[in-house]
């Protein structure tokens, strides 16, 4: 008898037969391609992956993945994915959402999925605009943004997804950029390896309604405005010409010509206080944009705790039959 060896999966196995319908030049293409490329490297069976999305441009994603998928309703993907994960904790469950879907209409589910440490991989495509409804400002749009819905400039203040996620007790918070293909792949890998709720915020360019939103991090000057976080390494950026140190709890940028690397803050993914500080740099005009894993800790997951509770109950109470429950309590016989 010869053992049949299944050939290893390739990117092709994860490409569905549906034509991709995003606008030419959309950042979503790069994310899709990288995800399809990365999936076979995890060594999991294809049928164990589930992609759940809400509504919006990014939410068409599941149709293009040849896995189990659910294109659901606006904002509810984390809640639907929660049902899938509880029902079958052996599945690898991915949520694809956007800044409008995940932070506005679905903000509550986003927050609570992370709070529970439900083992979901949340990919949040943040293009700082509503694309599918043709260009209104989103909860991450900068104040003053002029759109069809805000002809005099938006008076909303933007929110910062990593800060929200950290506030919700998330155990894995990372950020990457659609054009940083290698980095994106690395973040997908880290998210997959993380046992617990994880958020990857992906800066994604909408070339139709908000083109160039991230130009300062993706253009030629990118390294001056961005810091790539690496666990255990000093926080240097701008080709190591600048560094960050803490003045009390305040981060300041220092010139490396006048400072030693020993003065520089070392990134520690497991330090929640530090993670909050780093996440806040997004709102600062002088500090660099943090990219990479901001925070990552191990903590028991909701899905596993539920499995444990059920196992413990079964062990302590033994095999149960509904008939026994029906017959329980004060009963009497009528002859």
């Amino acid at each position: 008898m010869t053992e049949v060896q299944t050939p290893p999966l390739t990117k092709k196995d994860f490409v569905s037969d549906q034509a991709v319908r995003w606008c030419p030049g959309c950042g979503d293409y790069a994310i899709l391609a990288q995800t399809q490329k990365k999936m076979p490297t995890f060594g999991r069976k294809r049928e164990d992956f589930v992609f759940v999305s809400g509504i919006g441009c990014s939410s068409r994603f599941p149709y293009y993945m040849n896995t189990y998928g659910f294109h659901s309703i606006h904002g509810r993907a984390p809640a639907i994915a929660t049902g899938v994960k509880i029902a079958n904790p052996d599945l690898s469950v991915w949520v694809v959402t956007g800044d409008g879907d995940g932070l506005s209409i679905g903000g509550n589910h986003f927050m609570h999925a992370l709070r529970r440490n439900m083992d979901l991989n949340i990919l949040m495509f943040n293009n700082r605009i509503y694309g599918l409804t043709k260009g209104q400002y989103s909860p991450t749009s900068e104040q003053g943004k002029k759109t069809k819905a805000s002809p005099f400039g938006s008076i909303d203040y933007p929110l910062n997804p990593p800060s929200l996620a950290l506030g919700a007790q998330a155990t894995f918070v990372a950020r990457t950029i659609d054009r940083w293909q290698k980095h994106l792949a690395e973040m997908l890998e880290r998210s997959y390896q993380h046992d617990g709720g994880s958020l990857i915020e992906i800066y994604q360019n909408c070339n139709i309604f908000n083109d160039g939103a991230y130009e300062e991090y993706t253009g030629t000057e990118k390294l001056d405005n961005v810091i790539e976080l690496k666990h255990g390494e000093p926080m240097l950026f701008a080709k190591d010409t600048k560094g960050i140190r803490l003045d009390g709890s305040k981060a300041i940028v220092v010139d490396m010509e006048t400072h030693s690397v020993n003065d520089i803050l070392i990134h520690d993914e497991t330090n929640l206080d530090l993670a909050h500080i780093i996440a806040n740099w997004t709102s600062s005009p002088v500090l660099p944009e943090p990219i990479g894993v901001i925070y990552c800790i191990d903590k028991p997951t909701y899905n596993q705790e539920l499995v444990d509770q059920i196992d413990a109950a079964k062990k302590s109470k033994g095999l149960a039959k509904v008939q026994d429950l029906l017959n329980a309590g004060d009963t009497w016989i009528v002859n």
Partner: protein, 613 residues
């Protein structure tokens, strides 16, 4: 002593007091004891939405009514024969409902100046003669009595005072000749480890009983003989427990583990509480962040192959509407329970109503047909929940089960069913491709029009579901006009085909006559009671009760034709009535009383008589 026993067919008792007086507990104990004695019974708990309204206020009055009988009964009774009033507010709220000449058992210790004023009494009704001509008053200084009974116990007076509900219970047990032992055993279990509390309550209970025995106030005691119920093993059953058990039975019979995702809401929360204790059955309960997430998690769990359930009340169904539509277009099996309460908006959270029927049938965007089944008695919630699950799984569709606050909290003696006798639920997941090349998630079964159920984790059957219109068979996204029209029709036809699973409608009485009383849901008992009385009086009145409202049973049209008049009593402004008029072009009339409580049999009897002249 010269006391006499009088045997009566039935009695209606109402316990009323402050929210903190333990009236629900007292009613519950009287019910259990009465059930074990073998009477038929029906109960109506009636409590305020406020957890602790100011003590002594009208808003804080909590009541519990029980009717028990040596005959087969269907309702908790209209007007009580005996009212136990623990304070002036309880007297004020309930006095007008007692039958003329009825008995009032009153805790006079609570009739202080402050309490009287709080209840809006300018003078003490026990002293100003305003009750004397109408009722038999039995005034008892309950606080003094329990203080005396508990003398010598090392217990603060405040805690001793709290045992007065057990005293009142003891008095009623004496009046109606019921034993104390089951309540004594219950106290031991309930307060295990708190010996002084067990002791005090037991003493209060016995003191009440003995008071009845020694006082000259009760010269007559009443006997209500065992009811002639069908043979079997019985227990007392309330609606929410019955619903929970029905779901669990469906889980066992289908071989699917139960997933429950929901958000706490009155009066449905007890279903969540109950299921949460059944982890050893593999039951997963998920308390979601909101109603929408509860429903969404159910859709996700159904996709992943669970028996997926949620329960809520009207405001929750409103929030769940969009995800319900998703369940309908993705054709996944799930059961949504609406324990109806008074509406609109927050409405009357602890009171009963039947006003969510329109919402159940039409409360979603688009053509979104959903099967709707309604339970008829507290114990029937078990069978209705089981049936809802069976149909959801057989036809691959969300099903809505309507119960209501009265059914959920009310109770009745319940003949324990044998799980083996329940209709089988046969679930087959898809394991193989159903065409030469592909898995077609929307290829249908010819008889039921259900689609196959391939769950994540199954090799080679990877597919995508979603809320955008599906192409026939393939399930791909489709904007094709012809396809959309066809899919709209198929989804409706699938619901219609459930008719083939609906048992024939039973008509109680002749199949023709002057009047058909047509009911659905929790008004079953009142309608049956009323029709029994009317038939005894020789009127040509029959009763038909409808369980499936969507789809309606095939035979209903023919039944209706046999009657000159049709009366539809409902606790709404005629929601089912309009369906009947539209579907069968019949000049049916409504009896619509929307007061947050069951429609009385009396009002149905009067309406029928007035109509028939």
């Amino acid at each position: 002593m010269g006391k006499t026993f009088k045997t009566i067919d039935e009695a209606v008792i109402r316990f009323a007091g402050d929210s903190g007086d333990g009236m629900q507990l007292t009613g519950g104990r009287f019910t259990e004891t009465t059930a074990i004695l073998g009477n038929d019974l029906s109960t109506l708990p009636d409590f305020p939405a406020e957890i602790r309204a100011p003590a002594g206020s009208l808003a804080g009055v909590s009541a519990f009514q029980i009717k028990f009988s040596s005959k087969d009964i269907h309702t908790p009774g209209d007007k009580p024969d005996v009212l136990v009033a623990m304070n002036p507010a309880a007297l004020k709220v309930h006095r007008n409902e007692l039958i003329p000449g009825g008995t009032m058992i009153i805790n006079t210790d609570a009739f202080t100046k402050k309490n009287l004023k709080f209840a809006g009494y300018e003078s003490n009704p026990l002293e100003d003669g305003s009750l004397d001509d109408y009722f038999t008053i039995i005034p008892i200084e309950m606080n003094k009595m329990v203080t005396a009974a508990c003398e010598g116990l090392d217990m603060p007076p405040k805690l001793v005072g709290r045992t007065k509900n057990l005293f009142a219970l003891g008095v009623l047990f004496y009046m109606y000749d019921r034993p104390l032992n089951s309540t004594e055993d219950w106290l031991k279990k309930k307060f295990k480890g708190k010996d002084s509390i067990i002791d005090a309550n037991t003493k209060a209970l016995n003191a009440g009983y003995n008071f009845g025995d020694t006082t000259e106030l009760f010269m007559t005691r009443f006997k209500v003989e065992k009811a002639n119920l069908p043979k079997g093993n019985y227990r007392n059953m309330n609606g929410n427990l019955a619903t929970s058990l029905g779901l669990l039975a469906a889980s066992e019979k289908s071989g699917l583990e139960l997933f429950y995702g929901g958000y706490p809401i009155t009066p449905a929360s007890d279903i969540l509480h109950t299921l949460a204790t059944w982890k050893h059955f593999g039951v997963q309960t998920f308390q979601a962040e909101d109603e929408i997430a509860g429903m969404s998690s159910v859709v996700g769990a159904a996709f992943a192959g669970k028996l997926a359930i949620t329960a809520t009340s009207g405001p929750g169904v409103a929030l769940k509407g969009e995800a319900l539509g998703l369940g309908i277009i993705t054709e996944l099996p799930m059961v949504i329970i609406n324990v109806q309460r008074g509406g609109p908006s927050t409405g009357l959270p602890t009171k009963t109503e039947q006003s969510d029927l329109n919402q159940a049938l039409y409360g979603r965007n688009g053509e979104a047909p959903m099967p709707v089944i309604a339970a008829e008695t507290p114990g029937d919630c078990f069978f209705a929940a089981y049936e809802a699950c069976r149909i959801a799984l057989k036809y691959m569709t969300p099903v809505m089960l309507l119960t209501d606050g009265y059914l959920a909290n009310g109770s009745e003696p319940w003949k324990i069913p044998n799980v083996d006798d329940l209709e089988d639920i046969d679930v087959k997941f898809a394991h193989e491709k159903n065409s030469e090349t592909d898995y077609l998630p929307y290829l249908r079964d010819e008889k039921t029009l259900s689609r196959p159920w391939a769950i994540p984790g199954t090799p080679e059957l990877e597919h995508r579901l979603g809320g955008i219109e599906k192409a026939e068979n393939t399930g791909h996204v489709s904007y094709d006009p012809e396809n959309h029209h066809k899919m709209v029709e198929i989804r409706q036809e699938k619901v219609n085909r459930i008719q083939q699973d609906i048992a024939p409608t039973k008509v109680y009485g002749e199949d023709h006559g002057d009047m058909l009383v047509l009911s659905w849901g929790g008004t079953y008992g009142s309608c049956r009671s009323a029709v029994e009385t009317l038939q005894e009086e020789g009127l040509k009145v029959s009763h038909a009760h409808i369980r499936w409202i969507s789809p309606l049973p095939k035979d209903l049209g023919e039944i209706i034709i046999g009657f000159k008049n049709v009366l539809v009593p409902e606790i709404n402004l005629g929601q089912f009535l309009r369906i009947i008029r539209a579907e069968y072009l019949v000049d049916a009339q409504g009896l619509n009383l929307v007061r947050g409580r069951p429609i009385s049999a009396l009002s149905i009897i009067e309406t029928v008589k007035n109509t028939l002249g």
